[in-house]
């Protein structure tokens, strides 16, 4: 069993790889080892994405757990037409949207503040990072998501397209629009700052 699951020497084990496809097939046939491996492969990325959308550790943890449970329950409906990661992140995105619709207290997370105020970073860098975060917050959700996927997580546009339910061309167009919007927003913020 373990032999089947282990990646072959030098084999790609990234999203959409044959290794991932074998894992998903084994999950569909009820393999707990496959479930554990997929969880370990993606739990950090899923949490980071949920946290990015929700900005709250507790919510991100709950959504991460829920997403894996849901993915596991629905694994039989996954037909492998897209990378498993894109499918999984689609579940995370829907769960985050549901959660954001619920009335909630918006609390600034301690982790968030600490990450920005890391004393090892030069002051100007911290200030820039805060400005970029503020500018990102002003973008529509789909633009923030595509920036997060392509520019932060370095996803391929084809995979991001699957997750966003758009064509590759539409995804690239959204990404370029998002960068230009962010650029304009940042410029306006910097000008306000100077005046």
């Amino acid at each position: 069993m373990e032999e089947l699951q282990a990646p072959r020497e030098g084999e790609d084990r990234g999203p959409g790889s044959l290794f991932e496809q074998r894992l998903v097939l084994r999950l569909q046939s009820g393999s707990r080892e496959a479930l554990d491996t997929l969880f370990e492969m993606y739990v950090h990325q899923v949490y980071a994405y949920a946290y990015h959308l929700l900005r709250n550790r507790e919510d991100a943890e709950e959504v991460t757990s829920e997403a894996f449970l849901r993915a596991f329950e629905r694994a039989f409906s996954f037909r492998g037409e897209a990378p498993f990661r894109a499918w999984l992140f689609g579940i995370v995105r829907n769960l985050c949207r549901d959660r954001l619709r619920q009335p909630r207290l918006l609390l600034l997370e301690a982790q968030d503040i600490e990450a920005q105020k890391d004393c090892r970073q030069p002051y100007r860098q911290v200030e820039n990072a805060l400005l970029v975060r503020q500018a990102l917050d002003q973008l529509p959700e789909d633009q923030r998501t595509v920036l997060m996927l392509c520019d932060v997580e370095e996803w391929d546009a084809r995979e991001a397209a699957v997750m966003l339910g758009r064509s590759v061309e539409a995804t690239k167009s959204l990404l370029y629009r998002a960068r230009r919007s962010l650029c304009r927003t940042l410029t306006a913020m910097l000008e306000d700052d100077e005046s």
């Binding site: 370990e40 943890e61 894996f68 960068r179």
Partner: protein, 109 residues
């Protein structure tokens, strides 16, 4: 001699160049344009800077090891509930179907 490109036509070139996806010939045309057009040169530099800044400004949030352990245990429990471990039948159990309702097996031999 190719016609000179206008700034509006450069937008797509700039977007692709920021991602390093612009083919060589188009790249040369863009570079020639950027040398003459301060506005497009500024736009290109700003987009490159923004792309780098986003990566620096959005640190990846990491889940705590305690949470990861809890979540995995919960997932495993869910798995066990759906796919309960079944013990392989004992040799006696394996024989039971043949023995049930047939108490005279000895007489057949």
């Amino acid at each position: 001699m190719k016609a000179e490109m206008r700034c509006d036509d450069m937008e797509t070139f700039i977007d692709l160049a920021v991602d390093g996806l612009l083919p060589d010939e188009a790249k040369q045309r863009l570079e020639r344009h950027l040398l003459r057009c301060g506005r497009c040169a500024h736009r290109f530099k700003a987009l490159e800077a923004v792309r780098a800044m986003v990566r620096q400004a959005v640190p990846r949030a990491e889940p705590s090891p305690a949470y990861v352990e809890r979540a995995q245990a919960r997932l495993q429990a869910q798995f066990e509930a759906l796919f309960p471990k079944t013990e392989p039948p004992s040799p006696t159990q394996r024989q039971l179907p043949f023995l049930q309702g047939d108490t005279n097996t000895d007489s057949e031999y």
